[in-house]
């Protein structure tokens, strides 16, 4: 982008060319603005979930079906993937290519494990009789967690791409910004899960049918 704009150049601490009016990287600014946009996206879905909380007319209700221990494990896995992500970025920025690659693929593996947990959970719920068509809880639960899962899948694909880039040497300290914005996306998906875990699982796991 530097040459394309022809303005002036500032080198950031990691050698990336920052030649912008604010001194901020274009890509990072784009990613943060996009995350702000995604806040509204997930915010709407979570608000919908909360509006419909306790309003399902037929079962199964959350109390019949949600399994806190299993989800706690998958939550933990996703948290640890965030940690791996930040370590990967740290090593790539320091130029420690091998450690960086290792941690990128750790994120990929942990993210995949999280997705497997989700597939298992969806499958299990389907067997016990909760589908998106069963009741309002099913609808809001599956669409919200499903779209979160779609975000995770996209992140996993992106990181596989970057991981191979790191092996081949096209992702290095001087363009670690590419990993950094992928990392921002990944952490954002993680904090969305923090909210979902609290709202859907911890807060409403004891919900039964509508009062009265």
């Amino acid at each position: 982008m530097a040459a394309a704009t022809g303005t002036y150049e500032i080198k950031s601490e990691h050698g990336e060319v920052i030649n912008t009016s604010t001194g901020l990287s274009n890509k990072k600014l784009l990613m943060w603005s996009f995350l702000g946009s995604d806040v509204m996206f997930f915010g709407s879905f979570i608000a919908t979930y909360l509006v419909y909380r306790n309003r399902s007319l037929v079962g199964p209700y959350p109390a019949d079906i949600l399994d806190i221990p299993i989800t706690s494990v998958s939550t933990f896995v996703l948290l640890m993937s965030s940690l791996a992500m930040v370590l990967a970025l740290s090593y790539i920025q320091q130029g420690r290519q091998k450690m960086g690659t290792f941690w990128i693929f750790s994120v990929v593996v942990l993210g995949a494990i999280f997705l497997l947990f989700q597939v298992y959970e969806f499958n299990h719920f389907g067997q016990v009789g909760l589908t998106p068509r069963t009741n309002l809880f099913g609808t809001t639960f599956f669409i919200l967690t499903g779209l979160h899962g779609a975000h995770v899948t996209l992140g996993v694909l992106w990181l596989i791409f970057l991981g191979f880039g790191s092996i081949k040497g096209s992702l290095r300290a001087d363009n670690a910004i590419d990993l950094e914005i992928a990392g921002l996306y990944w952490h954002f998906v993680d904090i969305v899960w923090i909210v979902i875990f609290t709202v859907i699982y911890l807060i409403s796991a004891r919900d039964v049918g509508p009062p009265g």
Partner: protein
């Protein structure tokens, strides 16, 4: 009196309890505050962990944050099994998840270390989002609706 509070809570305009700023913003403030130099060794340790790199933490610092996040998660799940919490469950869970949220956004996403611009963008979006969605929930919950 106001001097006393300033002395207790602030120096250089921010609280002693605030995490140390990194070189990116300001040099770290002098050791002042209510505990004087007594807190210095702890603070220095913290600085070694946080401010070793130019504007990022060290790997061990991130591991520490990860450990704190795990502990909070364990506390959440443990508190969930606590039947006696009753009405306190929801506020407690919200506070704990808020803590996790801030830790991830602040340290893993580097908002604490990075240029303030990014923090403004994200905070502004969060504020608008929280504002309108809370208003929406209140409207649907307490609106004097004609339907059931």
């Amino acid at each position: 009196m106001s001097n006393f509070w300033n002395k207790l809570l602030y120096h250089d305009g921010r609280g002693w309890w605030d995490l140390p700023r990194t070189q990116w913003q300001d040099p770290n403030p002098q050791m002042e505050g209510p505990f004087g130099h007594g807190i210095a060794p702890i603070k220095r340790t913290w600085e070694i962990i946080t401010a070793a790199d130019y504007h990022h933490g060290t790997p061990w610092f991130y591991v520490l944050i990860g450990a704190i996040l795990s502990i909070i998660t364990i506390v959440e799940v443990w508190a969930f099994t606590w039947e006696t919490l009753g009405g306190l469950l929801i506020p407690l869970m919200l506070v704990l998840s808020l803590a996790k949220f801030i830790l991830v956004v602040g340290f893993f996403m580097h908002l604490k270390f990075d240029r303030k611009y990014y923090a403004w963008i994200f905070t502004a979006c969060m504020m608008i989002g929280i504002g309108i969605f809370v208003a929406l929930l209140l409207l649907l919950e307490y609106g004097n609706q004609t339907r059931q």
